[in-house]
Amino acid sequence: MTKYIVPAMTCVMLFSLSSALAQTHSIAYKNNTFDPGILKPIDSKLKVKVGEKAPDFTLPSLAGKKVSLHQFLGKKNVVLSFVPAAWTPICSDQWPGYNIVKDLFDQYDAILLGITVDNIPTLFAWTNQMGQLWFPVLSDFWPHGKVAGEYGILRSDGISERALFLIDKKGIIRYIQVNDINKRPSLEVLVHELQQLPK
């Protein structure tokens, strides 16, 4: 009996695991995305907490200007979307989703800042495949991963976690989600957290 149960259980277990790690790849990037395979879900330790003041930063943006967190104080709620690396499958299919929901961000008076540890030329070539993005894309390339490091989401291999930080107009962190790097975070959860912000 055991000899039938073991393979059956293994199959169920592996199917469940494979479902949990499934993903889609858009052909917008042709064959130019590199699939790093399954990575350790989280490989860093947060250095900030909900209720604390978000560490300020100034980073170069794709548009050419530098963007600072403090420039949104008193004006906009801010969503920081860190994605691990350009030209990888899940990252490539995350921001394009945010790109069609500007109205949702507007509704909650929020700006989205997309951040990776890649350099500007790489970000330029990569985001060009996504169409015209409405939100600033920032490079945390040099000093390498400094901002990711200050937030506690820089992994041991030098890329960042797939993480979301929701910061209110007073500069206080209201929500943190450090996602399994192998999965895209749910948009519903982010929208739910935007709804919780003080009006």
């Binding site: 055991t2 393979p7 479902s19 790690l21 499934a22 299919d93 069609i100 929901v101 169409g131 948009l187």
Partner: protein
């Protein structure tokens, strides 16, 4: 003992082959093969319910759709190519609905791979998609159809006895709508 180990080892290798980037391959059903069986929820929206010609509640299989051929688009709200292609696919739907020779004979649905109902609804509203879209939150259908990249288009011919056959299977957008419709007419025997 050896036999007991052998089967799980093959399963482990099977799992690895599906997820190792070097080994992974698309296994989408090809033309002249059967579409693997999967079920979708019968839409509660009455317009979509009537469009598909379904009865009652619960779930349905592709071959239960009242049509001679069904176009299935595998898309994702997060896929920029699918976003760019959306107006073209709406045009395809309108062309079929406005042609008395095709209306009711060829139908189209979209399946949002890895998308929740909330995400599918965003895509539907953003692009005013008039045909039924279904969420495939846990990638169940996506896995069943060979974990294709997006967008991917299948066309399935349905015969009156209820059997079905894939008559078109292709990755990427549809460049020539008329040519696709002509192919479907021929392969599904629509006069």
């Amino acid at each position: 003992m050896k036999k007991a180990i052998r089967i799980p080892v093959f399963l482990v290798l099977g799992f690895l082959s599906a997820h190792n980037p070097l080994w992974a391959q698309t296994k989408a059903p090809q033309e002249n093969s059967l579409l693997p069986d999967f079920q979708l929820p019968i839409p509660s929206d009455m317009t979509h319910h009537r469009y598909l010609g379904l009865e009652g509640e619960g779930s349905f299989k592709i071959q239960q759709i009242r049509a001679k051929a069904v176009i299935i688009e595998i898309f994702s709200m997060y896929c920029p190519y699918c976003q760019r292609e959306a107006p073209n696919i709406n045009k395809l739907y309108q062309r079929m609905e406005n042609d008395p020779g095709l209306r009711g004979k060829i139908k189209i649905i979209g399946i949002g791979a890895g998308n929740s109902p909330f995400e599918v609804d965003i895509f539907r509203k953003k692009y005013n998609v008039p045909f039924p879209l279904f969420a495939d939150n846990n990638f169940t259908v996506h896995k069943c159809l060979g974990e294709t990249r997006t967008p991917y288009f299948f066309v399935v011919a349905i015969n009156p006895q209820g059997s079905q056959k894939v008559i078109y299977s292709k990755l990427g957008g549809i460049k020539d709508l008329d040519s696709l419709l002509q192919t479907i007419r021929l392969r599904a025997g629509i006069k």
